[in-house]
Amino acid sequence: MNAVVPLSTLLDARQVWRGRAHEVSVGDQPTGWCALDAVLPAGGWPEASLSEILLPVDGVGELRLVLPTLARLTQGQRNVVIVSPPYAPCVAGWRQHGVDMRRVEFVDAGEKDVLWATEQCLRSGSCAAVLAWPHHADDRALRRLQVAAVTGQALAFVFRDRSHLSNASPAALRLELEAPPRPQIWVRKCRGGAVPAQAIPMPRSVH
């Protein structure tokens, strides 16, 4: 075993597989949260992909996470669709975050139609972002949404309960929110990069 094999020949012969196969290009969909952008491989939301946001309970900052993005998109005259939100959105609060409500469409869909409506909006190519709160979304349903997001070049956000964390997901990015007293964001999966070991602290809303 004296022969020293240079690493490059092994690599050229494709006998050794390198972990990060594709370098993810830096996209232009910043989340609006500098600390989060810094750890995500694309420097923001993965473009034209599904992002899954897992919550312990409603109202722990899930909207604060995406509202900067919605504000940026709607001010750029792009359409955003919200499918079957769990509560009525408060217009005054959304506008305080800079969202142009004239560009936001709300869709009331029954339990069975949430995924259908989300997919239609994503696939259409005329929505910049689609937010959905599906009740029963399995692995296959999420994959359909991911494919639709690619087809329509849109950002898809799916908000689900934290109990789904143990199930595999085709989403390009999975974030888990932790409720106060230590509000923070865990990156649980990010395509094209290593999962950061540290959580990102989430500041309180400013009053």
Binding site: D58, G59, N79, A88, R95, Q96, V107
Partner: protein
């Protein structure tokens, strides 16, 4: 001048077959009950030996199984007018002749391209609608009409060659007055060329001025004198189903045809439709109305059908359907959506308006909306469905989720993060509120927007979440 004639040899039969395709033998009959005669027969029936003019009893002796449908003069008239509306898309001068439509196309060619191209567009339209036709072009309307009698696809583009083209047309197909058609062959005159060569004086003495006028209209020495067709301002199409239909899936095909006809009509008048009504007619004059309302005017057949089908699928039929009627009265101008030249969206992108229509068609008319602010400070009334939003931004903290109705706070005492903000209003309309609003943190760590009675800080009611 260049006139095109579209001759429709089997208008009545095509009108029936297009909404109910059938392979078996089918004939249309007319006449008194005891002496019914075949007026039209499809190919299968003709192959079996049935022919136009045959008595129904004779036909029944020849063939044991075939379908007999009474000839409906009104429906033929309706189809004739409908096709004129379709042709109106290509020219503003459209007239009706028996079993034919003529249109002046010399000016249309500047827009649609030279004759062969225009011809193929017209043919494609009529074939798509399911009507067999023959077509010819000539410098006069009547000459074009006569040319369709002898051949399909003949085009005489200049008046110099018109006489030549008419030379060989047999008298029987010349569409001259009936007495001339009966008498001329007996005199040894068998083609139009021979008639045109005869001295006019003699013809007038023998057949009257009517024959000369017909000949002059043929050659263009007299104007055609046809009344121009004007498309109606409303669309109203009714078809009778041949069986009683009990489930809506059997209605899909006829509805598709009707909506396609509506789209063809809209294209003809360069308009769109904002609202139309599909009426399902039951027995004894009862009917079910299914209105289809759109957010903007549309005219694409596939889209209109999709919206109609979405609503049809949600309908439960109270009783069997005998006939369908599509009524469209609200026909505003069609404004195509403006697209950016450097649009970066994917090639197959659907405009947002069409996405909204698609969602509404399946989820219901009120399921897709936008929200805007109102001037009312009460949170329950501070927002409503609206498309514009010009109220200044609220300076006090507002949550991002609003609960449909406030719920009492459970658990220990909350931590107050901001407040109070007093709301004391609404005394004028009975919905009086007097509350102190705070931003609080619950024992679970959620940030909530809660209120209590003025100056009390107990009995918290949560009204929203700062999500």
């Amino acid at each position: 001048m260049l006139w095109t004639c579209i001759y429709l040899p089997s208008l009545a039969l095509d009108g029936i077959i297009r909404r109910r395709p059938t392979e078996g033998p089918l004939v249309l009959v007319d006449g008194p009950v005891n002496a019914r005669t075949i007026v039209s027969a499809n190919e299968t029936a003709r192959a079996a030996g049935l022919h136009v003019g045959q008595r129904l009893s004779a036909a029944q002796a020849l063939l044991s199984q075939f379908e007999v449908i009474p000839y409906d003069r009104d429906s033929v008239g309706r189809w004739h007018k409908f096709l004129a509306a379709v042709a109106y898309r290509y020219s503003s001068e459209v007239s009706l002749l028996p079993h034919a439509i003529v249109l002046e196309v010399s000016k249309s060619m500047g827009l649609f391209g030279p004759w062969p191209r225009l011809e193929s567009m017209l043919r494609a339209d009529f074939t798509d609608l399911g009507f067999r036709h023959r077509m010819a072009a000539a410098p006069t309307a009547h000459a074009a009409y006569v040319l369709t009698m002898v051949s399909d696809g003949q085009a005489v583009l200049s008046s110099g060659t018109l006489r030549n083209a008419l030379q060989r047309v047999p008298i029987a197909k010349s569409r001259l007055p009936a007495n001339a058609i009966a008498a001329l062959p007996c005199m040894g005159i068998r083609t139009l060329g021979q008639v045109l060569a005869l001295p006019r004086d003699g013809l007038r003495r023998r057949f009257g001025a009517e024959l000369l006028a017909s000949l002059d209209r043929l050659t263009g020495d007299l104007p055609s004198g046809l009344a121009l067709y004007r498309p109606p301002d409303t669309f109203d199409l009714r078809i009778e189903l041949l069986h009683e239909v009990e489930n809506q899936s059997a209605l899909i095909f006829p509805v598709r045809r009707m909506v396609d006809d509506l789209a063809a009509y809209l294209a003809g008048r360069d308009g769109g439709v904002q609202r139309f009504l599909l009426r399902l007619e039951h027995r004894e004059g009862r009917f079910t109305d299914m209105p289809v309302g759109l957010l903007a005017s549309e005219r694409d057949g596939a889209l209109l059908f999709e919206f109609a089908r979405g609503r049809l699928e949600h309908l439960t039929l109270p009783e069997p359907v005998l006939a369908l009627r599509l009524i469209a009265r609200d026909l505003p101008a069609f404004v195509p959506a403006g697209r950016d030249l450097f649009d970066e969206r994917p090639a197959n992108a659907l405009p947002i308006e069409q996405v909204r229509e698609r969602l509404r068609a399946r989820l219901g008319d009120g399921a897709v909306y936008r929200l805007g602010s109102t001037q009312d400070p009460r949170p329950e009334r501070a927002q409503r469905e609206a498309t514009h939003d010009e109220v200044p931004i609220e300076p006090h903290p507002r949550p991002t989720w609003l609960l449909p109705r406030p719920i009492p706070l459970r658990g220990g005492n909350p931590i107050i993060l901001a407040g109070p903000e007093r709301l004391e209003t609404g005394w004028w309309d009975g919905g009086e509120v007097c509350r102190d609003y705070y931003v609080i943190e619950t024992s679970l760590g959620q940030e909530a927007w809660a209120f209590c009675a003025p100056d009390e800080q107990t009995g918290w009611m949560i009204h929203g979440w700062f999500a």
